[in-house]
């Protein structure tokens, strides 16, 4: 009996963009599509970190539902009604890009090969239908992965553990997924899209009795899909709108109603798609997965030792030699077709049979900012991670797997130096760009990807939120998107806040430091004349030293962030002490408390 797992990535176009722009989690993101006559419609939308309370005290999660196909103007009006007009101003509207969605989904599919060797982004029938008439297929936009998990569940402790592991490992990588295992891809698809209606053992439950947090996984026991999925709505059958309407007209609202129809009535009264979907759900018609070349073409090399080798005797040089050979073997076929490694995984396999804890492989995931075809560079990145890991006591084998690849920029090297280069060095601009990319790879490899970033300005008056760290990317790869506010102003996306040049300190603590006169370690600010509301304190104590303010500039009033919670109301002052030192103080208008928020160091 075959078993299939379907992983559904809800609102995949938005999820993909949120992975590329984590800073957009705080704003509504719309993926729009230009229809005929220039009407912009919503293909997908989400607000990851939406405010809990919408306008009017409504629970935001229940207040706003914007179905795909809604016009963008209507969607914005609904958004403004629910969250206020500012939500529209800060929203990000990006054009639909199904090709990029598909490409990233295939990368996720490659990554999911750890759960099954057969992973596809579509079944053969759906792939053929999409290629014939992409606009006619309501499910043409890919957001699902199909895995043939026949026989692989045992390695993960059973089907329940497998589906749970899948969901949570994807969640750890920033992807919200729902997954289900069933006998057929169609049944798994139906269960994955309706996990909130299914209990973990696959028993159908009513929507009202479902918990507040919808379940993310389900397992339909073998041979029970027709009985367990019969209570699901018609949407579980992957039907087009016309067929669904036709079914509803005759009073059929659930999968069970369709299953009760006789074969004669099915073929004579409804489109052929309905019979096909029903057969695919029940398993009377096979639905092979379209495991194309995309999931099979990424190389994987492994080296198995004849006997387990203690890592104490396995020197760094020996390990490097093995890794370099494996990396070269992985890179060569990619380089031959003009691609480079974008992400790879190295697994150091301990000997099996020594208990669960010891048989877990040591996994090293290496990500690059630009595809690389240099085994030496890749080896360096792996070694940076190796030096910070505790290796297993014994090694049974080493596996190097390329998880993602991209087009590598290859060019011919110049024989002679560029005489016009002002630096007097041979390397050209492209060389220097490549050197910086390699530096970023090395830094993020050792320090962590979150510890290396490019700051980007944000049009936010609150100083703590005036910039965001963003992952360094190739400048050519930076997408050009505009927010509603930018378009309204007719300006470019939020650039450097030039009007604040020279008015912001170069050192700023993560949080403003509250005045606590009793704690000697903190800064004690003493307002000599509390009645002088529009003046900074005349003296303050800093690290045990009293400073006398001789000059100040301000106040610069900042009132903002009402949409983030309590409103921020502050009067900022640049104060200069008698020794010439400059500090950035503010007074909280709510209670008059003083804070130190920066040092013009």
């Amino acid at each position: 009996m075959s078993r299939f797992m379907t992983i559904w990535l809800p609102r995949w176009p938005v999820q993909r963009r949120l992975r590329e722009h984590p800073e957009w989690r705080n704003v509504p993101v719309f993926v729009s599509r230009r229809e005929r006559r220039g009407v912009m419609t919503v293909a997908s939308w989400a607000w990851a970190d939406a405010p809990r309370e919408a306008a009017g005290g409504l629970r935001a999660g229940h207040a706003l539902r914007i179905p795909a196909g809604t016009s963008l103007a209507e969607a914005m009006a609904l958004l403004a009604l629910t969250y206020g007009s500012r939500a529209c101003h800060v929203s990000q509207v990006v054009p639909d890009d199904p090709a990029a969605d598909q490409a990233v989904l295939e990368r996720v599919a490659r990554w999911c090969r750890r759960f099954s060797p057969a992973v596809a982004t579509a079944t053969v029938d759906d792939a053929a239908r999409s290629s014939r008439a992409p606009e006619a297929d309501p499910h043409a936009s890919p957001d699902c992965l199909f895995l043939d998990v026949t026989g692989t569940a045992g390695f993960f402790g059973g089907e329940s553990m497998l589906v749970r592991t899948t969901v949570w490992t994807l969640a750890a990588r920033g992807l919200h997924a729902r997954a289900a295992i069933a006998d057929t891809p169609g049944a798994a698809w139906a269960a994955a899209h309706h996990t909130h209606l299914l209990a973990n053992d696959g028993v159908t439950i009513s929507p009202r009795s479902a918990g507040r947090r919808p379940r993310r996984w389900a397992v339909v026991p073998a041979g029970e899909q027709t009985s367990l999925l019969s209570g699901l709505p018609l949407a579980a059958l992957r039907l087009d709108a016309a067929t669904t309407t036709a079914l509803r007209e005759v009073g059929i609202d659930t999968v069970g109603g369709v299953l009760k129809l006789s074969a004669k009535s099915l073929t004579s009264r409804f489109p052929a798609t309905l019979g096909l979907r029903r057969a695919q759900l029940t398993g009377t018609r096979a639905e092979p997965l379209a495991c194309g070349s995309g999931t099979e073409s990424l190389p994987q090399m492994s080296h198995a030792f004849e006997l387990p080798i203690p890592t104490t005797t396995f020197t760094e040089g020996m390990l490097a030699a093995v890794l370099e050979r494996l990396l070269t073997g992985c890179v060569s076929p990619l380089a031959a077709r003009g691609e480079g490694v974008l992400a790879l995984q190295v697994r150091l396999e301990p000997p099996a049979g020594m208990g669960m804890a010891t048989s877990t492989p040591t996994v090293i995931d290496v990500g690059l900012f630009r595809p690389s075809i240099s085994p030496r560079h890749l080896l360096e990145l792996v070694q940076l991670r190796l030096g910070r890991l505790r290796l297993p006591r014994e090694l049974d084998g080493i596996v190097v797997e390329v998880v993602a690849a991209g087009a590598a920029a290859c060019r011919q090297r110049a024989l002679f130096a560029d005489a016009t280069d002002g630096a007097g060095t041979r390397d050209t601009s492209a060389d220097r760009t490549a050197a910086v990319d390699m530096l970023l790879d090395r830094l993020s490899g050792r320090l962590g990807r979150d510890a290396v970033f490019e700051p980007r300005p944000v049009a936010d008056a609150q100083p703590e939120h005036a910039w965001i760290p963003s992952a360094p990317v190739d400048s050519a790869a930076r997408p050009t998107t505009t927010s509603h506010r930018d378009r309204a102003r007719g300006s470019a996306p939020a650039g450097a806040p030039l009007r604040l040049t020279g008015r912001r300190p170069i050192w700023m603590p993560a949080r403003p430091v509250r005045v606590e006169p009793l704690q000697a370690e903190l800064i004690a600010v003493t307002a000599i004349d509390p009645a002088a509301e529009r003046q900074p304190p005349l003296r303050f104590r800093l690290a045990g030293q009293v400073h006398r303010v001789v000059q100040f500039h301000g106040p610069e009033r900042i009132e903002t962030a009402w949409w983030r919670g309590p409103i921020v109301r502050r009067d900022y002052y640049v104060v200069e002490t008698e020794t010439g030192g400059r500090f950035w103080l503010f007074r909280r208008l709510k209670d008059g408390a003083w804070f130190l928020h920066g040092v013009f160091a």
Binding site: A419, T425, R432, E454, P455, P457, L500, T579, A601
Partner: protein
């Protein structure tokens, strides 16, 4: 990889091939103006040499030494062919909006602006390694860091004795060699007390804040700078002794040239306000 211009070819033609000498020669002639005329007058060669380390010794809290180092770093990133500025920020104090406008203002409108990359190491070893890697990269124009700085408010360094002290001294030497190999400039802000410690920096510049004149704008900053050590100490530039610099933070550079201009004037019956 380093190549040499016509002078280097002439030396090669003369039959004398000394790689280290050629490399030193290549970097010796690459002097980039700091954008501050008075500061340039202190430095031998009239500017900051590529492939060198400079220590900025901050005289007290809020002294402006980091601001000055950041200003010079932005200038180097804009003027160099390597257009990347790396800030190694161990403690997470660095506030990028202070630097980003300077990079944006100084960049050419038609070209892609310089890159600002921030690295936040979590340990001493990582900090030393990150600075070393950044200085070794040929695409990096300048690296700004606060090695061993321990507290934002006090501007003090962590005490390092014995092995730890040796570790930092060795690191400084490694950074010097790394900078020399790539041409990047290391700008390290340290407290005034570090003056007593040995250093591999080519210049150690003490920065002391001066009280601003009563009519000074908030975007002006008065500083006193003086070379107090380093290999360039004995080879000072045109100026000897401390010089006073008035920074214009609005338009990165020196404000002294504009100081004499009236802030407002009248013409044709209309009042104009100088910006």
């Amino acid at each position: 990889m380093v190549t040499f211009g016509s002078t280097g070819l002439a030396l090669l033609a003369g039959g004398v091939v000394d790689a280290e000498q050629l490399q030193r020669h290549a970097h010796d002639r690459e002097v980039v103006s700091s954008g501050l005329r008075r500061l340039d007058s202190l430095l031998p060669g009239g500017g900051v040499r590529r492939g060198s380390l400079i220590e900025w010794l901050a005289g007290g809290e809020g002294s402006g030494a980091t601001t000055l180092a950041g200003l010079v770093a932005c200038r180097l990133a804009v003027a160099s062919s390597a257009r990347t500025l790396v800030v190694v920020d161990r403690r997470g104090w660095f506030h990028p909006p202070a630097l980003m406008p300077w990079l944006a203002r100084q960049g050419d409108p038609g070209k892609e602006g310089p890159r600002l990359i921030v690295a936040r190491p979590s340990s001493d070893d990582d900090e030393i390694w990150a600075i070393d890697q950044a200085l070794r990269c040929s695409g990096v124009a300048a690296v700004v860091a606060w090695p061993r700085m321990t507290a934002l408010w006090s501007g003090q360094e962590r005490p390092a004795r014995g092995h730890a002290f040796q570790q930092w001294t060795t690191a400084m030497r490694r950074w010097q060699l790394a900078a020399r190999s790539s041409g990047a400039v290391g700008l390290f802000v340290r407290p005034e007390a570090a003056r007593r410690e040995p250093s591999w920096a080519e210049a150690r510049i003490a920065v002391t804040p001066l009280p601003s004149p009563p009519d000074a704008a908030v975007t002006e900053r008065s500083l006193r700078v003086e070379i107090v050590g380093g290999a360039w100490n004995g080879r000072s530039g045109a100026a000897t002794g401390p010089v006073d610099v008035v920074l214009d933070l609005l338009r990165p550079g020196e404000a002294t040239a504009r100081r004499g201009l009236p802030r407002a004037f009248a013409t044709g019956g209309a009042a104009c306000l100088a910006s």
